[in-house]
């Protein structure tokens, strides 16, 4: 993991979004640096997923800005780019791992094609290379190579989630967004996926925004933690500090509500 104090990779300023008169999220500010994992926690309806959509180019905010450090021009507001520019960014420098793998995968094409798709989308045309890259990634996410030509429909939840991760990481994105990546999985698979994500992030130096309501997952994966309630960030700081010495009343309640194992 290389994390230095250069320019932020993503800079979020005064970000707000409303659904009618309901607050989606309000006045959010934070930076993410290369190789850093930022966790976002909060109960259902606290605005975590809205925030993730806003910063990953899926939902245009009502106010504020989301700037990404583009390879050529530096920090640029992603909502002031043209649609094709933003699409290219989403296919190359970003990855999005959805809570429900079916939202992030094509269920009617093979696992190999799912993994290779992003390579084709950025112009790779050599089928043999795409196939060998895809099988590399299948191995990296610890899946059997013989599943390469199988359809995702035949995969278990944990396998689908790993396939989704491979599909996203193959273009070596610099920033990956993950929405509850371990939520639908049983604990043994969860631990395995955690280990996988942590290993990939630290080896490849990818920055990551992970939304989860699981504080245990956050303690092990994220460097910094942001706590949301009713669309607002009530507290943010070093993960272990927020969990061990929470300052905000809501965070104190949240942390003291964890059931010990």
């Amino acid at each position: 993991m290389t994390m230095s104090l250069q320019n932020p990779l993503l800079k979020v300023e005064n970000l707000s979004h409303y659904y009618g008169d309901q607050i989606g999220c309000e006045n959010i500010n934070f930076d993410i640096y290369n190789g850093e994992v930022l966790g976002v926690v909060g109960e259902s309806g606290s605005g975590k997923t809205t925030l993730l959509k806003l910063i990953s180019g899926l939902l245009c905010p009502n106010a504020g800005s989301v700037a990404f450090d583009t390879r050529i021009e530096g920090l640029r507001d992603i909502y002031k780019m043209s649609e094709p520019e933003r699409r290219l960014l989403m296919r190359t420098d970003w990855g999005i791992v959805y809570q429900n793998p079916k939202d992030g995968l094509r269920m009617n094409v093979s696992a190999g094609a799912n993994i290779g798709e992003r390579l084709m989308a950025i112009g790779n045309r050599n089928y043999a290379n795409i196939r060998s890259d895809s099988s590399d990634w299948l191995e990296k996410v610890e899946m059997d190579l013989e599943r390469m030509d199988h359809f995702p429909e035949t995969f278990s939840g944990g396998m689908l989630q790993r396939l989704q991760i491979a599909r996203n990481l193959i273009t070596k994105p610099r920033l990956v967004f993950m929405d509850e990546p371990t939520s639908g999985l049983d604990v043994s698979v969860q631990a395995r996926l955690l280990d996988l994500v942590r290993g990939l992030v630290s080896k490849l130096g990818i920055a990551c925004v992970i939304v989860s309501h699981d504080l245990g997952v956050m303690r092990l994966l994220s460097h910094r933690l942001m706590v949301m309630k009713s669309g607002k960030v009530v507290e943010q700081g070093l993960t272990d500090q927020v969990l061990d010495d929470p300052q905000d009343p809501y965070t104190q309640l949240l942390v003291s509500s964890i059931l010990p194992v």
Partner: protein, 236 residues
């Protein structure tokens, strides 16, 4: 200890209290006006009965507990940084390069082998795989963790073994400053000695150490000076 030891840590007028918002926002003061400094090669023993805030002081210095008043100055990357005012990014950098902390409990991702856990801090720093693994083996050997356990995750280990793995994860790197929270609490005499040797070795190489050691034998073996929180409170 070096003769011309330089200062590497200086705490000034540090205050810590907890506010319990869900219990009528009562404020629990722990300490106030704590000041001391630490030099290279010094091992400062935090003394005082249980509940006086020794662990809280260590955790505050590490940034695990948030402090608002006073200063925690750390000599990091050839300049001074005050952790009370530092951003999370800077604190992470200080923790990666300068400040190591051995807590009382091992907290790691499940399913990873002991050897990989111990090698990881070096790999993170960009050391080669071979070097990192060799260093990890070396430290595990010094701490007398049986080789048959190296490939297993530490979840099933005994309390004493887990504690030594925890020590190995920190001591595999050579931090300029170390914070030790009862590193020998659940160890038998032989293993205690192995940890004492590691601490003395680091100290004599110039590492500055702040530690909590309830065991008098350990305290006498490694300590070079004493800081009594209770006395400091009354003096304040």
């Amino acid at each position: 200890m070096k003769n011309t030891a330089i200062e590497v840590l200086a705490v000034k007028n540090l205050k810590k209290s907890f506010i319990l918002h869900n219990q009528n926002s009562i404020e629990l003061p722990v300490f106030d006006n704590i000041s001391f400094s630490l030099k290279e090669g010094e091992c400062l023993v935090l003394a005082g009965p249980s509940g006086t805030g020794k662990s809280t002081l260590l955790r505050s210095i590490y940034g695990n507990y948030l402090t608002h008043f006073g200063e925690i100055n750390i000599y990091h990357n050839q300049s001074w940084i005050n952790l009370v005012e530092a951003t999370p990014h800077s604190i992470l950098n200080v923790r990666r390069q300068t400040l190591g902390y051995v807590s009382q409990f091992l907290r790691v991702i499940p399913r990873i082998s002991t050897l990989d856990l111990v090698a990881e801090p070096l790999l993170e720093q960009g050391e080669t795989e071979v070097h990192s693994i060799n260093r990890a083996k070396d430290i595990l050997q010094k701490l007398a963790i049986p080789e048959t356990l190296w490939d297993l995750p530490p979840a099933t280990f005994s309390g004493g073994e887990q504690q030594r793995v925890n020590i190995a994860i920190t001591f595999v790197k050579e931090f300029p400053i170390l914070l030790l929270d009862e590193p020998t609490a659940s160890l038998d005499q032989k293993n205690k000695q192995a940890v004492i040797d590691l601490i003395i070795n680091a100290r004599d190489k110039g590492t500055a150490i702040i530690g909590i050691f309830h065991d008098e034998y350990v305290r006498n073996a490694v300590g070079t000076s004493i800081f009594d929180i209770e006395e400091a409170k009354h003096a304040a």
